[in-house]
Amino acid sequence: MTDILDRQLSCSDVIAESSVGDETVILHLTNGTYYGLDALGTRIWAMIKQGIATPDICQLLADEFEIELTTIESDARKFLIDLEAQGILVVG
């Protein structure tokens, strides 16, 4: 199976979101569930909305936070898989 970090990601069109400070609350309009993104999750979410390629997202975060790329990729992978499983992200 292709790594999610190598896939094109886009935001689902059945969500509503609210920016709260440096965090985000997302409402899934179909199942009525709410999700909270912390500051890092919000950064990743914003970059996906901007259309930045997933591999570039991880590199940008690694540079910004001066963290090993492999660590960022591991955390981002879990985060993105979770968002896809919840129907918030569309992988295509």
Binding site: A16, S18, S19, D38
Partner: protein
């Protein structure tokens, strides 16, 4: 246990039911039609209408109605949210018993006025179980039954100058969590996102599947979370510790701008 059933709007109206004993229809002209089984006590019907139907009707009108208790300290309101049984009413009652003005213990309307959020009770309620009444309230307090489905007693709150009528600025929100393992009293600042989701989780709604209303609720909760500081509170359920709990709450609130 009583069950609720909400009909979708496709039926032309919403219906809220408690089993097959009470039925409240929310008609399009903002009219509520209430029907109940003949054997049911009036206070049980009143409770269902006042504490379940009306807050949901208000939420469906676009108001942000929190399931929370609140007291007034220094002309500002402190709100306490939490799941049923977490101790909101007991905590609010313990403030009231030492002379703090009660706002309510169940349904609160929160609204934005200028740059501040304000709160007003749907009505100034206070309902406690007998052990809380015996531990906290004065011996001559008057009580009445709330509903046949619960042993909670409704405390007779005389309307007086001590009962705030006008909306009050919200100083802080507290969510009441499970007691900590070490029986300590803990207060943790919540992030804005945590506050937003806690507010949504503890708000009334009539039709959770109504997408437009859900988006509105998200916007209202977000605005509240951005403006009002919120904390998670955990403490041992020991009446003797309530003074310490109150003091810590008041200390935290006094340190806010």
């Amino acid at each position: 246990m009583a069950t609720f059933y909400v009909a979708t709007e496709s039926a032309g109206f919403y219906r809220l039911m408690q089993g097959d004993e009470i039925c409240v229809d929310f008609l399009k002209d903002r009219h509520l039609e209430v029907r109940s089984a003949e054997h049911l006590a009036t206070y049980s019907v009143d409770h269902f209408v006042a504490d379940q139907a009306i807050p949901r009707a208000m939420a469906n009108e676009g108001m942000f109605v929190l399931h929370a208790g609140a007291v007034c300290v220094g002309s500002q309101a402190i709100l306490f949210m939490g799941e049923s049984g977490r101790g909101k009413s007991t905590l609010v009652a313990s403030f009231h018993a030492v002379g703090v003005d009660l706002i309510g213990d169940d349904a609160l309307v929160v609204s934005l006025s200028g740059s501040n959020h304000e709160v007003q009770a749907v009505y100034p309620s206070l309902r406690l179980f007998r052990d809380s009444i015996e531990a906290i309230m004065h011996t001559d307090v008057k009580t009445s039954a709330v509903t046949d489905l619960s042993s909670k007693r409704r405390i007779d709150i005389p309307l007086s100058l001590r009962t705030p009528a006008a909306p009050l600025r919200v100083a802080a929100l507290f969510t009441i969590a499970e007691p900590a393992n070490d029986a300590g009293i803990r207060i943790r600042r919540l992030s804005i996102a945590e506050t937003c989701m806690a507010a949504i989780e503890n708000s009334f709604s009539l039709d959770p599947s109504d997408v437009t209303r859900a988006q509105d609720q998200l916007a209202l909760a977000s605005a509240l979370a951005r403006q009002v500081p919120a904390f998670e509170l955990s403490y041992p359920r020991d009446f003797a510790r309530l003074p310490d709990v109150r003091n810590l709450i008041l200390k935290h609130v006094s340190q806010l701008n």
